[in-house]
């Protein structure tokens, strides 16, 4: 059986491999290649070397967007994970209606980003209308608007992952801790958190990647206003690509830089938190 499997391995893998190549590897290589080109359409490109990268890095807006994205990511990652974990703790205690609450908290995640953005835009503007201002008055409104939106959308999803992690902790461990006289705080710090470390790794990765790549919510909520002060990296790339004549290559170069940054942050986070995981 094993031998057979090995023999046919290439055949079984081929369809997926093919799809992976067509849908990922080839576009990716093309994307990197295009970032060194001057082009309007992907089939009509002219090699210009690292020109696009120089333009991307001398572009003030790109660095502003990068800084804004980092600040946003730090706040959003912490708040989403803290709230998600707290909710998960709350909803694994067996209180009545647990399933209903889990569903309710998870639901926002099912709504598309653009719709969410517009809903929150009218809600936040509705509240701010009391003070005769709009969200575009100051970048800080946009910033916190995005944080709230991100939390609202992602907490449910993150919560589900933490719940799965918490339910995996063997009751024996908890009972043993109780017998040994651990307070619930000690049980949380010494047992629950170390035991859900794999979930934390996943959740951190998901929230970091999502915060960096956020696009549709950003576009719908503030569209970068006022004056591009709330433009995040993905939106800045989009604006460069479509908003400036002859800047498609620069947009592409920014996208490659963006990929490298997200990949580095993502991978180092996974490596770091993997080290903290314990065998159960």
């Amino acid at each position: 059986m094993d031998k057979n499997l090995k023999k046919y391995f290439p055949i079984f893998v081929l369809p997926t491999l093919l799809a992976f190549f067509i849908a990922f590897v080839i576009p990716f290589i093309m994307g990197v290649y295009l970032s060194f080109c001057d082009f309007t359409t992907v089939t009509n490109a002219k090699w210009v070397g690292i020109d696009n990268y120089i333009k991307a890095f001398t572009n003030k807006e790109f660095l502003n967007a990068l800084w804004f994205t980092i600040r946003f990511a730090v706040v959003a990652v912490i708040s989403v994970n803290v709230f998600g974990f707290l909710l998960a703790l709350l909803l694994t205690r067996g209180i009545r209606g647990t399933n209903v609450f889990r569903t309710v908290f998870f639901m926002p995640n099912l709504i598309g980003g653009i719709v969410l953005g517009y809903i929150w835009q009218s809600m936040i503007n509705g509240v701010l209308a009391k003070y005769q201002v709009t969200m575009l008055m100051d970048a800080k409104y946009g910033f916190w608007g995005l944080v709230i939106l991100m939390n609202w959308q992602l907490i449910g999803y993150i919560m589900i992952i933490y719940i799965a992690g918490l339910q995996n902790i063997s009751p024996d461990l908890m009972e043993a801790a109780k017998i040994d006289g651990a307070t619930s705080w000690q049980a949380l710090i010494k047992i629950k958190i170390p035991m859900v470390m794999p979930s934390i790794t996943i959740c951190l990765f998901l929230t970091i990647a999502n915060s960096f790549k956020m696009f549709d919510q950003n576009l719908a909520l503030t569209a970068g206003g006022p004056s591009n002060k709330t433009t995040m990296m993905a939106l800045d790339i989009y604006n460069t690509f479509y908003g400036k004549v002859g800047f498609e290559g620069v947009g592409q170069a920014k996208a490659v830089v963006f990929f490298v940054i997200v990949a580095i942050i993502g991978i180092s986070q996974v490596v770091l938190s993997r080290k903290k995981e314990v065998e159960s």
Partner: protein
């Protein structure tokens, strides 16, 4: 054994389905060529599809029409034109659009529809003298007013003017508007001007249309058609009118960041305001608003006055940013089919009927006689203005450097309206962005 057979059969079926999907396309692109038009205006999608069907019935040539979602024309075109089945007929928005699509624009100087233009100077010409874009409609914008409210005001005691004809300068307009604003309750309106929509993406009426006037005046002074750097000499004139819009509006200036063009048009249609700056295309928007109270015969245009010298004789801003271009990288047969299609649109009775009555285009071709003009109130008012001997302002905003320039200008206007930016900074933003974006295009 049986199981294996079933599995094999299933596999075969699946492959067959996949392959069938690929096979279908090939037969269509025969030698006679076909037309693929990428439509710019979502509001007339159905009409274009009808036209395509009619044309195929009459001539047997296949016409495919795809519509790009509002504001996404450039991005849709970018992806569509890279396909093997690319649009053969598409649209560019002026000299800047030509810059980005010049590799794809065929020379149209020998086509009948170019020769039929009433004014050949309207077409887009390249550096080599070839013709690369031919306009198919003329549009105009100004201040749309509700005559019913204006008449009510003129009948009041102490009115600053007695008819709209008296308003021929910014000073007069300002006097009338400010007086009307102070009497808004008696007039039953919320403000004279509809909201100055400054939501990102909804600021084009100011950063493009209103800005056209001072930039045109600067071009005229310097006797040029385009500039690498502008001084924005007439910034104060822009500010005059913009301030007038802001201060005499139905909405507080700090709340404008939440308003879109639809909001403004709805306010106008519901009779809450007397004036709104927009173009003849806005008729459909006004007409479609639920609970619309403005009568058709009361909707009229007046020019946008900004306090320029000699503006007594100024008319509406008339021009176009809709140019047909034909894809030079598609087959000869397809190019020819597309040229025939456009010729049919402006020559045959069916085509002309669609152009004027259904699409509402004021077609700038000699093949259209005087009766063949759209009948909606704004188009009529626009044509009246063009024939009145007043001097129309051409659309020079087609030379504005890029969308990014416009977006940043619009964002600065929003900040100015909210009070978080000084006017002098707005002027600087315009100058800097213009220079930077123009430099980027030139490369």
């Amino acid at each position: 054994m049986k199981k294996k057979l079933v599995a094999a059969a299933l596999c075969m079926a699946m492959t067959a389905v996949t392959l069938a999907g690929c096979g279908e396309k090939k037969g269509a692109s025969a030698a006679e060529g076909s037309v693929y038009y990428l439509n710019f205006k979502p509001e007339v999608t159905d009409i274009w599809e009808e036209i395509a069907q009619k044309y195929t019935e009459e001539t047997g040539v296949k016409v495919k029409v795809v519509t790009a979602a509002g504001g996404n024309y450039e991005s849709t075109l970018k992806s569509e034109i890279a396909k093997s089945d690319a649009p053969t007929l598409f649209q560019i928005n002026g000299p800047i659009g030509y810059q980005s699509w010049k590799d794809y624009c065929a020379d149209l100087s020998d086509t009948d529809f170019y020769k039929a233009l009433t004014d050949p100077s309207l077409a887009i010409k390249g550096d080599d003298g070839g013709v690369y874009g031919v306009p198919y409609t003329i549009e105009g914008y100004g201040i749309i007013y509700n005559d019913e409210i204006m008449q009510k005001y003129f009948a009041m005691e102490g009115a600053a003017a007695s008819s709209v004809d008296e308003i021929t300068s910014f000073d007069k307009l300002k006097a009338v508007v400010e007086d009307m604003q102070s009497k808004k309750d008696a007039l039953g309106i919320k403000g004279v001007f509809a909201s100055t929509s400054l939501l990102p993406g909804e600021e084009w009426r100011w950063q493009t249309h209103l800005a056209n006037i001072p930039v045109y005046a600067e071009y005229r002074d310097k006797d040029v058609e385009d500039l690498k750097e502008i001084d924005f000499t007439y910034a104060d004139n822009f500010k005059n009118t913009f301030d007038l819009y802001l201060n005499n509006s139905s909405t507080e200036p700090t709340m404008l960041g939440s308003k879109g063009v639809n909001d403004s048009m709805a306010e106008f249609a519901l009779g809450q305001v007397a004036m709104v700056q927009n173009g003849n295309w806005a008729w459909s928007q006004i007409g479609e608003v639920q609970g619309n109270v403005v009568k058709e015969e009361n909707i009229k245009f007046m020019p946008i006055y900004t306090g320029l010298e000699g503006e007594e004789n100024q008319g509406l801003c008339i021009g176009t940013e809709n140019y047909f271009s034909i894809n030079s990288q598609t087959s000869e047969a397809n190019q020819k089919a597309s040229i025939d299609f456009v010729n049919w649109l402006i020559n045959s009775d069916t085509g002309k009927d669609y152009m004027t009555n259904k699409l509402g285009n004021v077609a700038p071709f000699t093949t259209f006689n005087d009766e063949e003009k759209p009948q909606d109130p704004l188009a009529k008012s626009m044509l009246d203005s063009m024939e009145s001997g007043k001097e129309s302002i051409p659309w020079v905003f087609t030379t504005f450097p890029s969308q990014t320039f416009k977006d940043n200008f619009g964002a600065a206007l929003l900040e100015y309206a909210q009070g978080s930016m000084e006017w002098s900074d707005v002027v600087n933003t315009v100058k800097e962005q213009w220079k930077a974006e123009k430099a980027a295009v030139q490369e």
